[in-house]
């Protein structure tokens, strides 16, 4: 075995790769829960994108839905705490106020999505424009209301706390760190993997999924076999709204306990990129979100504790900007077709008009 290792070191490239693998094995288990946390809002945004676009509706307004839900959730918490108190009623530091506020946040996401659905499905407005309007309005409105209402910068209803898995679980060899990654989380981050798996199965194995995809690929054909295209599209956009709102609520109710103007900082759009990289499938999008967040985390890791040896010399000599750009470089490489072409649903972004019954 030693002989093999020495042989590997004698070839510089192999040696560096070997060191890289060793470094990853060393650092990734420690930071794996953080990688999932950073991926959570992106993955939820991507899931919203998948829901909408699989049924043929482009949703650029994800960012706007997220910021709205982040604001509404946080501010409902502020209003509800005096009424409902902060007594914990369940795991994850759940109080009645917090749970109700989350419900309100999700409802706000549905409302905004309904607006997008109405504009792009019923009114048949340009879907890009409709989404853009939602983004601009949501940013302006939440910023304005935040200025107006939150003069005393009140506390929200608290944040969902993380579950801490026992050491016996996280210390299990080989898979302990993966369990830690998915269990050492708050409820929203933990729910992502569940949602992704469920909707992957539903989308490709259920009647609803088949209908959604049919509507997204060829609505006219779907209509001729008796599928109500308008209804399917509405339903999918509204479900998507719940996901995006959950991503927004994550920012102000789980990751932090506060709202900042513009706190989504482009996560909705990165979610759309994750959706495309993941080829419009929930699992693919989740994987892409993880890829983005782990490249950021790895960049940070190299800054915090650089590896030793040749690899360390190489990595630390690169300017910091390279690591900032890493997620975007990964996106460009993937979109350039390195891992095959990413093809959207055929009717994506096209309004559907029933043939007039004369």
């Amino acid at each position: 075995m030693d002989g093999l290792i020495n042989a590997l070191y004698s070839i510089p490239v192999a040696g560096v790769l070997f060191q890289l693998a060793g470094y990853l094995v060393n650092v990734v288990p420690d930071i794996s829960p953080l990688i999932l946390q950073a991926a959570t809002p992106i993955a939820l945004a991507a899931l919203c994108g998948v829901m909408c676009e699989r049924a043929g509706v482009v949703n650029i307004g994800i960012e706007g839905i997220m910021i709205t839900a982040a604001f509404v959730g946080w501010y409902s918490g502020v209003l509800l705490v005096p009424v409902l108190g902060t007594t914990a009623i369940g795991p994850f530091g759940m109080s009645l106020a917090l749970v109700v506020a989350l419900g309100v946040a999700l409802a706000s996401g549905v409302v905004i999505s309904a607006l997008h659905a109405w504009l792009s499905i019923s009114v048949r407005a340009d879907q890009i424009i409709s989404g853009t309007i939602i983004n601009i309005a949501a940013f302006g409105l939440t910023g304005y209301l935040n200025n107006l209402i939150a003069k005393t910068s009140p506390n929200g209803a608290g944040a969902f706390t993380q579950f801490r898995p026992p050491r016996e679980v996280t210390d299990i060899p080989v898979i302990g760190w993966i369990l830690n990654m998915f269990l050492n989380q708050g409820p929203i981050a933990m729910s992502v993997i569940v949602l992704v798996v469920i909707f992957q199965i539903l989308l490709f194995r259920s009647r609803w999924g088949l209908r959604s995809r049919a509507v997204g690929e060829h609505p006219r054909a779907a209509e001729t076999v008796g599928i109500d295209v308008i209804r399917v599209r509405y339903r999918n956009v509204l479900i998507g709204g719940v996901f995006a709102a959950l991503g927004g609520a994550y920012l102000s109710m789980e990751a932090t306990n506060s709202f900042q103007q513009g706190m989504t900082t482009g996560r909705g759009f990165i979610g759309l990129a994750a959706m495309i990289v993941g080829r419009w499938s929930p699992v693919g999008a989740f994987g892409a979100a993880l890829l983005f967040s782990s490249s950021t985390a790895l960049g940070n890791s190299i800054k915090f504790s650089p590896p030793s040896g040749d690899l360390g010399t190489i990595l630390t000599s690169l300017p910091d900007q390279v690591y900032d750009a890493l997620p975007y470089l990964v996106t460009i490489v993937i979109l350039a077709g390195v891992v095959g072409r990413s093809i959207p649903p055929a009717a994506d972004g096209q309004a559907y008009e029933r043939e007039a019954a004369t």
Binding site: V27, D30, I31, L34, Q37, A38, P41, V58, I60, E63, Q127, I128, G131, T132, N135, I136, F139, G140, G143, Y144, N146, N147, A150, K151, T152, S153, N155, Q162, L251, A255, T256, N257, S258, Q260, Q261, G262, M263, T265, G266, G268, F269, L272, A273, I276, A297, N300, S301, K303, F304, S305, P306, P319, D320, Q321, D324, I343, P344, A346, D348, G349
Partner: protein, 397 residues
């Protein structure tokens, strides 16, 4: 046609991100003014040379804040309170205050006060720097106080210098523009002493928002020297949230919390100093989650960010209220000069915040030590910044 929509969608997305970035409430060192004229829109007031009232109760003082809210327990609030206090001392009217909806309104709000012939216009925060310089250039006969905007950097013709060559002499070019600056390294030094005293492991951390932020570098440089003064064996780990993105650096608590948590996991500090604005609020959250101590920045963060008060040891403070109110009083008294108005320990311009909830855990000698260091700063006998002050290369990784 098929692939058009995702591409177009991303393009629109990028455009919006880009516009969000430019309007973010963060120091705009990136303010390479878009080509032509950075001062378009800044015009002179009407009615000839401005005449200041002889009756000091008739002075008209206006405040324009940075993006956010007035009562933010941060730059906006303490600047406004400073102006209010000064006006009350003069017997003048309570200063009106305007809050911009986004960065595009900063200049408009200042111009509003100019058009109404105000005598003193106070603008809060680094973000207002360019707009204030422009207004001062167009109106050399009225007073401007720019809080945290010094030293002013202007071109030889008195315009804001996006290239940061600072060839012009602001004192003579803009004689009534008072650009307040603070000695961040002194405040950082006091925080560093407190941190090293409270640290059990001797490993300290500091996280700055963006590498381009000179004041952030000085805070951390002072922090390092202060920590070494108390414990020469203490180790300081420094990291920067980003090298390029101002929104991420100062306005994204979610990123801050994630970044801070990873920093704590990998570097294992037991006291963590944040110099990253609202992104830093997330860093304080991460410190609380990891059961270590955090140190706030600029204002008393146990008050400005009560979420993390239980683990916020103290904050490296700029005395915004004192600087603003004193300068207004000096202007009315006729003793204030324009240019860089520097606030250091000598003028009580910096300090450390009370320990609040953690008071009972503080060793008895710490306050005396901090006060002694502060006295030495006042006397000018304490070096709080390395020779290359503001140079990021002096900091450890």
């Amino acid at each position: 046609m098929r692939t058009r929509f995702p591409g177009l969608a991303l393009l629109v997305g990028l455009a919006i991100i880009a516009s969000a970035c430019t309007s973010a409430s963060s120091p705009s060192a990136s303010a390479a003014p878009s080509a032509a004229n950075p001062c378009a829109g800044a015009t002179a007031h009407s009615g000839g040379t401005h005449v200041f009232p002889t009756d000091k109760t008739k002075w008209k003082i206006g405040v324009t804040t940075d993006v956010g809210t007035v009562n933010d327990k941060n730059f906006n609030e303490y600047t406004f309170n400073g102006a209010k206090q000064a006006a009350a001392a003069l017997g003048a009217a309570v200063p009106p205050v305007v809050v911009p909806k986004d960065a595009s309104e900063l200049a408009k709000n200042i111009q509003g006060f100019v058009n109404q012939n105000f005598d003193i216009i106070v603008t809060a925060g680094f973000n207002n720097g360019q707009a204030t310089t422009c207004a001062a250039h167009a109106n050399p006969d009225i007073w401007f106080i720019g809080v945290d905007q010094g030293p002013p950097c202007v071109t030889p013709d008195g315009q804001p210098d996006g290239a940061f060559k600072c060839a012009g002499d602001a004192k003579t070019l803009l004689p009534k523009y008072v650009a307040i600056s603070f000695q961040e390294d002194q405040a950082g030094y006091l925080a560093g002493m407190a941190a090293a005293t409270m640290s059990k492991s001797g490993t300290l951390g500091a996280i700055g928002g963006i590498t381009l932020c000179g004041p952030c570098v000085r805070y951390i440089q002072g922090f390092q020297l202060g920590a070494q003064k108390v414990n020469p064996n203490s180790v300081l780990k420094v990291a920067w949230v980003t090298t390029s993105d101002f929104t991420k650096a100062f306005n994204d608590p979610t990123t801050g919390k994630n970044f801070g948590a990873q920093f704590i996991t990998q570097n294992k500090p037991d006291v963590l100093f944040q110099v990253a604005g609202k992104t830093g609020n997330g860093i304080l959250d991460a410190a609380c989650d990891a059961s270590i101590l955090g140190i706030g920045v600029d204002v008393d963060q146990a008050l400005s960010y009560p979420n993390a008060a239980k683990c916020t040891l103290t904050s490296a403070e700029k005395k915004l209220l004192l600087a603003t109110s004193t300068d207004i009083a000096n202007i009315v008294a006729g003793t204030q000069k324009g240019g860089d108005d520097h606030w250091d320990a000598k003028r009580d311009g910096i300090g450390y915040s009370p320990f609040h909830d953690l008071e009972s855990k503080i060793p008895s000698g710490l306050k005396a030590q901090l006060d002694a260091a502060f006295a030495a700063m006042k006397a000018g006998t304490l070096k709080t910044c390395p020779d290359k002050c503001g140079d990021i290369s002096t900091l450890p990784k």
